[in-house]
């Protein structure tokens, strides 16, 4: 290779290093939009709206529920609004979404509408979200369990699109092995008063779980590892699962404005109960490193009960991949109550909210899109196609009336939204400051709950005091 060619190649490679600089200063918010919202609508999607684009998902599996729903939603919106072209983008969830929205806000490249989660109050509090005014018939028809995340100073900044409640998944196969159920799935006589297929109280639930663990301890082979209830150790969403039991006892973590409730008698009761309940967990439950591994334990038939939904379980076990966890053996029931606590409680989980960015490029189209997601038809299809729970009461009533098999499996999380006697906790609180330090402190305390015999009220008090300190720090 002669000198000239070598120099040319070096020069070309060196110049190529400048290509990266060509992206500097680029924003996606320069396209012009009409007063009626005509133009491009940028959407950061998350389940039930697919990300990446639905066409890519459907190429792999044409019947993928999220892909099918997203295709219908977007194509029907574009048909009704021919001048609006949806650009569906990937932005991840939780940490990925945090990073992406922060970068987008700093660079001025935020989308027009996005799925948000528990940090929605922070975005609305600091002016990143546009106010939403829904039609009255829609506003009064929405469930109110996620209002704490959707409203700020009395104004709406986000809408729920789908959400779920906790219920207890039951593997009847394990109950049969342990002698709690007969071979025909009827309840064994000794267990009738405890209602193992729908325990009324947490205390009864504990008796059943302990009995299963005692039976398993006397077994050999794979049966010796079986337990009553599948616990959730620190690395896998344990805080929201704990909240389900805390809420049942009338307890909570904190509100969205830094008021901490950890150090309460209701929480002491809940954590003392959980310490006992975790003793009935399957062998190795405490050593789980991720939610996937935890769920696999349930599919392998290692626990009779777990906090899992039909939407999670059905796709996995329907195909018969797990001989110890068959769909025909699966059942679900609502959360029990604590003795002496009359009001039924649960926790809003898996909630997906959609919001319009105040500095997005096409606020008009974004608001039209929000209306479309909340339409009766779109909400009904969330249940029919994806199997998730919609957020409009009229749709929930229609689902009740249809009384399909899927509704029967999910009644524990459809009915409470229509039952005014139910108290639904808002879910994990949003912290202004030191979110990671707060949850680190809680994780440390949570570990001690099931690895030590330390006094629960002292553990909670110490964690409470740490949280108060962290949250009181100036931002």
């Amino acid at each position: 290779m002669n000198k000239f060619v070598k120099k040319l190649l070096c020069g070309a490679m060196a110049t190529a290093m400048l290509f990266g600089a060509s992206a500097c200063g680029n924003t996606n918010n320069n396209t012009s939009v009409g007063e009626d919202g005509s133009g491009v609508l940028r959407v950061w999607g998350i389940n039930p709206i697919s990300q990446p684009g639905y066409d890519q998902i459907l190429e792999v599996d044409p019947e993928n529920p999220t892909g099918v729903y997203s295709k219908w939603l977007i194509e029907s919106f574009e048909e009704a609004n021919p001048n609006i072209d949806i650009q569906l983008e990937t932005a991840g969830w939780e940490l990925d979404l945090n990073k992406n929205i922060m970068t987008a806000i700093a660079a001025g490249t935020q989308p027009d509408t996005m799925a948000t989660a528990t940090y929605t109050p922070l975005l609305s509090r600091y002016g990143h979200l546009a106010k939403l005014e829904l039609a009255e018939e829609v506003e009064t028809d929405l469930v109110t369990s996620l209002d704490d995340f959707c409203f700020h100073q009395g104004k709406r900044y986000a809408v729920p699109v789908t959400q779920m409640l906790f219920g207890i998944a039951i593997n009847k196969g394990v109950l049969r092995k342990a002698g709690i159920l007969n071979s025909d799935n009827t309840v064994a006589e000794a267990w009738v008063e405890y209602s193992p297929l729908a325990p009324k109280t947490w205390e009864d639930f504990l008796v059943i779980c302990n009995a299963i663990k005692t039976w398993a301890n006397g077994q050999s082979g794979e049966n010796k590892d079986i337990g009553g209830f599948l616990n959730c150790p620190t690395s896998a969403d344990s805080h929201v699962r704990c909240l389900a039991i805390m809420a049942s006892a009338g307890g909570d973590f904190a509100d969205n404005y830094g008021e901490v409730y950890l150090n309460s008698p209701a929480n002491v009761k809940a954590y003392e109960y959980m310490r006992e309940l975790w003793k009935s967990a399957p062998a190795g439950n405490q050593s789980v490193s991720s939610l996937g591994v935890l769920n696999a334990m349930f599919y392998e038939g290692k626990a009779a009960y777990a906090f899992m939904s039909p939407e999670e379980v059905a796709p996995i076990v329907s195909g018969g991949a797990y001989p110890n966890c068959k769909m025909e053996d699966m059942a679900w029931c609502e959360l029990p109550n604590f003795e002496g606590v009359e009001k039924k409680g649960n926790v809003a989980v898996g909630g997906v909210l959609y919001a319009v960015l105040a500095d997005g490029n096409n606020e008009v189209a974004a608001k039209k899109f929000i209306e479309h997601i909340l339409s009766f038809e779109a909400q009904k299809k969330i249940f029919d196609i994806i199997g998730r729970v919609p957020v409009r009461k009229s749709v929930l009533k229609a689902i009740q009336e249809e009384n399909t098999d899927w509704y029967k499996l999910n009644s524990y999380q459809v009915d409470p939204f229509l039952d005014e006697s139910y108290e639904i906790n808002k879910g994990i609180p949003v912290f202004e400051n030191n979110t990671s330090l707060c949850w680190d402190a809680w994780n440390g305390m949570w570990q001690k709950v099931f690895t030590t015999d330390d006094d629960i009220s002292t553990l909670l008090k110490n964690c409470h005091n740490k949280w108060v300190g962290y949250l009181a720090e100036e931002a």
Binding site: K7, C10, G11, A14, T15, A16, M17, L18, G20, A21, C24, L95, N98, K99, I101, M102, I105, A106, Y119, L122, L123, Y126, G127, H128, D225, P233, T234, S235, A283, G284, N285, Q286, S287, V288, S289, S290, V293, N433, N434, T435, S436, L437, D440, N443, G444, Q447, T451, A475
Partner: protein, 293 residues
């Protein structure tokens, strides 16, 4: 002269894009890192105010952050020692094997090209209660381990996985260094009766000392920046005992949105690494490590 000027101009023309790239993507971000480390900068809260040394004071007065530095240094020291010395012996072994040396080098190098996430997910499956590792323990009559609740085991696995991935690349450097040693020196040593460990200690290591120091310092700098294995294996647990400083930076930036504070943590981390690296260079150049004859 004219030709020299022309060649100089050509060289400059090739260098300029590289320098522009370096300026835009290294110098400017570095400057911004220092700039924001003295500010309370939160994109979500629309806060961007100068707050002096408050960020730095908070780092050194908050036990959670100081313990992360301790964890990082401890993990880095152990990881460096394991990586470097195992790599040295792997490199030494490869140089002894004449046939199939390329195959050996490839085998040792493969782990470094497998994504960390893949390796850690396989490890996590092996560390379940009834996973491969506990089954191996059972075969040898040892009690099953609760891996994720043991700080010792989490350190062990993070270090083993990281070292295993590093050995390939590091051993290649040692192979290159060992290849530069004059074989006559070994022949002379053989005549004097120096064999085995004595040969390695009194001849090989002193002759490749500059490369050894370079590898050691580089390995330590890399080890101080350990993050992904911690994230995917222990997630900072049990009870934050493996939460290294890069994990704290990640938390502060992306959970707490405190970019200014995350920048300050990054600056302190860089300073710590620099101090230890300079110390390492000073010690390696001094007579402290001189092998006594």
């Amino acid at each position: 002269m004219k030709r020299e000027k022309r060649e100089a101009a050509q060289g400059l023309a090739i260098m300029i894009p590289v320098m522009i790239n370096f300026f835009i993507f290294t110098c400017v971000p570095l400057f911004m890192l220092f700039w924001y480390s003295f500010r309370n900068y939160n994109v979500i809260k629309k806060v961007d105010v100068f707050n002096g040394f408050d960020n730095y004071i908070k780092i050194f007065t908050t036990p959670e952050y100081t313990s992360s530095f301790t964890t990082t240094i401890l993990m880095a020291v152990i990881l460096t020692l394991v990586s470097v010395f195992v790599s040295f012996f792997v490199g030494l072994g490869c140089t002894k094997v004449i046939k199939k040396q390329a195959v050996l080098r490839t085998v040792w190098y493969i782990p470094s090209i497998i994504p960390v996430y893949v390796i850690t997910q396989i490890l996590n499956n092996m560390l379940t209660y009834d996973g491969t590792m506990n089954k191996i323990f059972e075969i040898f009559g040892m009690p099953t381990q609760d891996w994720y609740r043991s700080t010792f085991w989490m350190y062990f696995w993070i270090i083993i996985i990281t070292a295993w991935r590093n050995i390939g690349g590091t051993s290649l450097l040692f192979i290159a260094a060992l290849g530069s040693v004059d074989k006559n020196v070994y022949e002379a040593a053989d005549l004097d009766g120096a064999t085995g460990i004595r040969r390695i200690w009194y001849i090989t290591i002193p002759l490749i000392k500059p490369m050894f120091s370079f590898i050691f310092i580089n390995a330590f700098i890399g080890a101080c920046q350990i993050f992904e294995p911690v994230l995917f294996i222990s997630n900072g647990g049990p009870d934050q005992t493996t939460k290294v400083i890069l994990y704290r930076i990640y938390d502060e930036a992306f959970w707490n949105f405190k970019l200014g504070f995350a920048c300050a943590l990054s600056v302190v981390t860089a300073v710590f690494i620099s101090i230890f690296s300079i110390l390492g260079m000073v010690v390696s150049d001094s007579d402290m490590l001189k092998i006594k004859e």
